[in-house]
Amino acid sequence: MQTFFQQLINGLSLGSIYALVALGYTMVYGVLRLINFAHGDVYMLGAYFGYYAARILHPYRVVPWIDTLAVMVASMVACGLTALLIERLAYRPVRHASRLTMLIIAIGVSLLLESLGQIVFGADPKFFPQLIPEKTWRWHGVIFTNQEMVVILVAFILMVLLNLFVYRTRTGKAMRAVSFNLDAAKLMGINTDRIISLTFVIGSSLAAAGGVLVSINIPGIDPLMGVMTGLKAFVAAVLGGIGNIFGAVLGGLILGMAEVMVAGYGSSTYRDAIAFLILIAILLFKPAGILGKGQVEKV
């Protein structure tokens, strides 16, 4: 039982990261029907932007939580701007081309970011500066670290904020309208190009937050770190029902748990395999995902 609760905590913290990244996949899919394959690499950029922000801000450190907040905001803003650029330069020009064209462009952007990452940041892993000195508590034999708690808490806050934005604001309503029917949204006077850009910016800054949070827990970062996490977050989004915000969160948490449980009770050799097993199972038995409705379109 004790091990189970330990795995639960670990799964929750890993799952929160997947959920943050999965949100970007699902939101962009919602407005553009595009699987943005470059999204995992944006998460990688988030970790690197955070890394450089942490190094630049190092001399001005105040207290751990303010430092962490500053690094995270810096990385989120930088990633948001990068996403704006990617959307304008790569995706908008081919928006009216076929879906396959968009998909190929997305794969191209992904490869480009990975290569640029290796050139600019170097191919060797870097060590993320420690923002929060580790503290641990023990409660009935279950170990809690403050770093894991921060990851879970911050991810939770971000998801609540996103939810408030999407369901309680005028712009959030416009975003839901765009994802339901693009032409009808235009008829309402909504500048849909702006909403689509904004969707990229929000999705990418959430991924950036994920990149920083993961580095608080596991400080080694490298230019290909987005490949596996990106794939898993994609699986999480499909699992929850792509296009569905709650689905992305649910899928992320389930995947995080499943992975940690497999590693804890089975063998850690298989921890990466579980994501793909889930993907195959979901495509076979419930292609629309847990919360998805109707038929899933082929990409």
Partner: protein
Amino acid sequence: MLSLKGVSTRYGAIQALSDVSLEVAQGGIATLIGANGAGKSTTLRSIMGLAHPHSGDVLFEGKRLNRVPTHRIAALGISLVPEGRAVFANLTVAENLELGGYLQKDRNKLKRDMDHVYEVFPRLKERLAQMAGTLSGGEQQMLAIGRAIMARPRLLLLDEPSLGLAPLMVHVIFDAIARINAEGTTILLVEQNANLALHRSQHAYVLETGRIIMHGPSSVLAQDPRVKEAYLGE
């Protein structure tokens, strides 16, 4: 108020409109009738910038609309109730109406406009918290029209509002259209139900395979032998 001058629109190799010219005068109800695939929806889409004419001009109060993005055209004072209604099914009735008033930033005015919609369609008021997708066809049509008038358009374009509705509901919808018109909104009505459209309008255009083949006062067209034979089934 609105004029199309020699508008031609195609989808790939399909020529949907050829040299369409028409005028909608301020204040009245004009109608565009025609069979399936004649190009009625394409005409409305070409006005709203959802389809792009390759030649000809679309003018609204003297301003050329070609190449103006759809959301700006909406802001100029034209609303379209699209074919098939296109309500936001996964949003509530209230949210759909709020989106209709998306450009209205004054909350008090927004509130007043919503009250106006409830006056025109009392049924919607009872359904505010319901998801639009769960409404009946007639209620969805009410919502689509209500959403469109939330923008206080000066010109309202309606694409087959009677489609798929029971006769009683068609009556309700057309009475509402008459009321909206009486309150000062000019209307361009697209219909396959020519009988209904000719009775409810002052001026009519007949579209056949992308061309305007006839136009004139609705009462005159309703008596025209060719119209009678082809569109009124007499």
